[in-house]
């Protein structure tokens, strides 16, 4: 079974430029997450989708960040414009929605450097 796939793996952009990250969750996983991880810290949730609905986006900085999951499968996270402080790893994860003790599976992350 394929895991969570993310692209690009690495991205370097200049500040004020836009950037987008793509995620393909594990097949059959209805819940999709985007996390932000700064160096030396644990991941922090940005947004959680149940199918195509964003059920928790309280931690997403909506002035410059946006996300979508149009068909309830793939998702895109966008930053526009990027700032120096956005340099971090952006992790996508997925899990099944039903059942107890659902395990969240992570992709390898998209590493963003803003210069």
């Amino acid at each position: 079974e394929a895991g969570v796939v993310q692209s690009p793996r690495y991205k370097i952009i200049e500040k004020k430029q836009p950037v987008a990250f793509w995620c393909n969750p594990i097949s059959g996983h209805n819940t999709l997450y985007w996390y932000l991880q700064n160096l030396g810290q644990g991941p922090e949730l940005l947004i959680r989708y149940e199918n195509e609905e964003a059920v928790d986006d309280s931690q997403l900085p909506k002035d410059r960040f946006s996300a979508e999951r149009l068909k309830g499968v793939d998702s895109t996270l966008k930053i526009q414009p990027a700032e120096l402080g956005d340099s971090a790893v952006y992790l996508c994860a997925s899990s099944r929605s039903q059942g107890t003790g659902n395990t969240i599976y992570f992709g390898e992350g998209s590493w963003l450097t803003v210069v």
Binding site: L45, E50, L91, A93, G101, E108, G109
Partner: protein
Amino acid sequence: LAKTTQPISMDSYEGQEVNITCSHNNIATNDYITWYQQFPSQGPRFIIQGYKTKVTNEVASLFIPADRKSSTLSLPRVSLSDTAVYYCLVGASNNAGNMLTFGGGTRLMVKP
């Protein structure tokens, strides 16, 4: 969401058993305890999950006392490749609580 407290770092030697304890004093009835492992340049990887007593898989064991206010991840006979950050998380089992909050994790360094 229950907050977790775990040691910032630990050192061990190859072949030793490593026990990492996590405190979660305000764990809720529906919360499960989950441990993740993260290597540099990779996303977190699920290790083990439990609700109470003891859980064992091919990688680790998880010990949870009756009051569930703490848990201990046990890694038998660690090797250099077990050097990583280990995160303890608690989260609810229902749909609304399917979000897990990460703390700072425990950085395990295995030495030769």
